[in-house]
């Protein structure tokens, strides 16, 4: 058989895969381990087994406020990004407007521009124009970052759909709004959903923009964790981090259930 792979190579591949798994998942496993340790100090492998750090996190008002802020932020951003990104994707997909290709590039540019540069610009612009940054600043900033993801996933599913669906709907008597609602939107849904998962995940985990736009009363969960790490990390940080990993796993399971992992990875 032509595809036969030599045995030594199979063994080498196995060792390689194990090493890569260790590299990729190691840090996450370590965080999870530290979070269930009894020790007062951060240590891995964990000494003893206890959930006391989780109890401490759930009793800490600062963490709870941050968690709520992150959650509310991510939900609002997900909604806005899918609205803006989805509508733009439909218009760009139709290619009825001259320069649709250039438009797509403009819409995707927040993806290319490093977040730190955008964060610097946003902070300076907002301070000069509107004064102190606020929750709204963060909502807008995150939405701008997340729109390209929704746009990309939505454009991808639209380009796979039958290009004659809208015309067919017209010949069957569907007016403008009926076409958007009954034909175009259902085509967009898988892409919109994938984009929403990305948007929620990115907004919930985003640290750079949130750090630059940080205010005393505006500290998202990643920023709170970052602050702890810079100064005095104790195992409660590991517990919060583990909860964040949990949220990610939950999102991935949900995404897999609804969309299939394959589509998700292509976005």
């Amino acid at each position: 058989m032509v595809r036969e792979v030599p045995l030594w190579l199979k063994v080498a591949a196995g060792i390689f895969l194990a090493g890569m798994t260790l590299l990729l998942l190691g840090p996450l496993v370590v965080v999870l381990g530290v979070s269930v340790s009894e020790s007062q100090f951060i240590a891995f492998p964990p000494q003893g087994l206890s959930l006391k750090w989780y109890a401490q996190v759930f009793g800490d008002a600062r963490y709870l406020v941050s968690f709520r802020q992150s959650l509310v932020l991510a939900l609002i951003v997900t909604g806005l990004a899918s609205l803006f990104g989805g509508a733009s994707a439909i218009a760009i997909h139709r290619r009825a407007i001259p320069g649709a290709g250039i438009l797509a590039t403009i819409f995707l540019s927040p993806l290319i521009l490093p977040t730190i540069i955008y964060a610097v610009g946003m902070l300076m612009f907002w301070s000069a124009t509107f004064g102190a940054v606020s929750f709204l600043t963060l909502v807008i900033g995150h939405t701008v970052i997340c729109i390209p993801y929704v746009l990309r996933t939505t454009l991808a599913v639209l380009s796979e759909s039958d290009p004659y669906l809208e015309e067919a709907a017209r010949t069957m008597g569907a007016g403008r709004l009926a076409r958007l609602w009954f034909v175009v939107l259902p085509q967009c849904l898988p892409g919109l959903a994938a984009g929403m998962f990305f948007a929620f995940n990115i907004s919930f985990d985003e640290a750079v923009l949130s750090l630059f736009l940080r205010q005393p009363d505006l500290t998202t969960l990643p920023v709170r964790v970052y602050g702890q790490l810079e100064f005095s990390p104790d195992p409660s940080v590991a517990a919060v981090s583990s909860i964040m990993i949990g949220v990610t796993v939950l999102l991935l399971l949900l995404a897999d259930r609804i969309l299939g992992l394959k589509r998700f990875s292509e976005g």
């Binding site: 030599p6 996450l28 951060i42 610097v120 939405t143 964790v225």
Partner: protein, 273 residues
């Protein structure tokens, strides 16, 4: 209502948001970078380019980013290849192994590395036990720590970029190469590798730009002593409050990144045009 008006209506909100909350801030930053006490000035750039400390930061940023990109490519290519050719169940497992860290907050992943690399962490202990390092051996706050952490953070981008190309590659090309006398590795070297180049190139551009502009991981693993450009920008914004200087550094980073991406953007433009 015409089709065009409907499309413009769909496009308007997103476009307006982008113009107001993306384009304008970038211009604000560009403006600040050349703004002096009285009118235009290149002083902020001169300060950066005339100071050996900042030149050192810039050089470290470029050097480490190149190294990180190289490691990602060398490890990412075989990984992506195995993924592309693995049976479905193994492929799904490997996909999870790649995506799970990608979707986890960078702060959390960096925390993991801080534990692993700390004075009493697993890696230094192991090296000491093996006699490969002395008692005072330290990994935290070194360039090695930054490289290790960044490779883990950026590996998924490289793997997924290469996988995107490999998944579309006709497997019969390899079989054809084998029937023409190539060994397994020969087919990999002469057929798969050249054809994966577009994916590797995209992955490399991504890795380099993300690594050069990364802030959280280098800052937490490298500390104040081993600064990269993004950390220096953060410091200028939040600690020295010298926003003009921060803007100038951002422009330097932006120009560097655009230079790296230029060939890619041009080739993309050609494909669409």
């Amino acid at each position: 209502m015409t089709d065009r008006r409907e499309n413009l209506l769909l496009l308007a909100p997103g476009l307006a948001l982008l113009a107001l909350a993306f384009i304008l801030p970038i211009f604000r930053m560009l403006a600040l970078s050349v703004q002096g006490e009285d009118g235009l000035t290149g002083a902020h750039f001169a300060r950066f380019l005339g100071d050996p400390f900042y030149l050192g930061v810039l050089w470290r940023t470029v050097r480490l980013s190149l190294l990180i990109t190289l490691i990602c490519a060398v490890l990412g290519f075989p990984f992506a290849y195995i993924m592309a050719r693995a049976r479905p169940r193994l492929r799904t497992l490997l996909l999870i192994i790649v995506i799970l860290p990608l979707m986890t907050s960078v702060v959390v992943r960096t925390f993991g590395w801080m534990v692993i690399l700390s004075r009493n962490g697993i890696l230094p202990e192991m090296l000491r036990d093996l006699g490969l390092a002395g008692r005072s051996f330290q990994l935290m706050r070194t360039e090695t720590a930054i490289v290790l952490g960044m490779v883990q953070v950026l590996m998924p981008f490289m793997v997924l970029s290469i996988l995107g190309v490999l998944a579309r590659l006709d497997q019969r090309l390899e079989e054809a190469a084998r029937t023409m006398g190539c060994s397994f590795l020969g087919a990999l070297r002469h057929v798969v590798l050249p054809l994966s180049m577009p994916g590797i190139a995209v992955g490399a551009v991504l890795c380099f730009t993300l690594s050069a502009s990364s802030f959280v991981t280098p800052n937490l693993l490298g500390g104040t002593r081993v600064q990269m450009l993004a950390a220096s920008i953060y410091r200028a914004v939040t600690q020295t409050l010298d926003w003009n200087f921060a803007a100038a550094q951002s422009v330097i980073l932006l120009v560097g990144i655009l230079l790296v991406m230029a060939p890619y953007i041009v080739s993309q433009g050609r494909r669409h045009g």
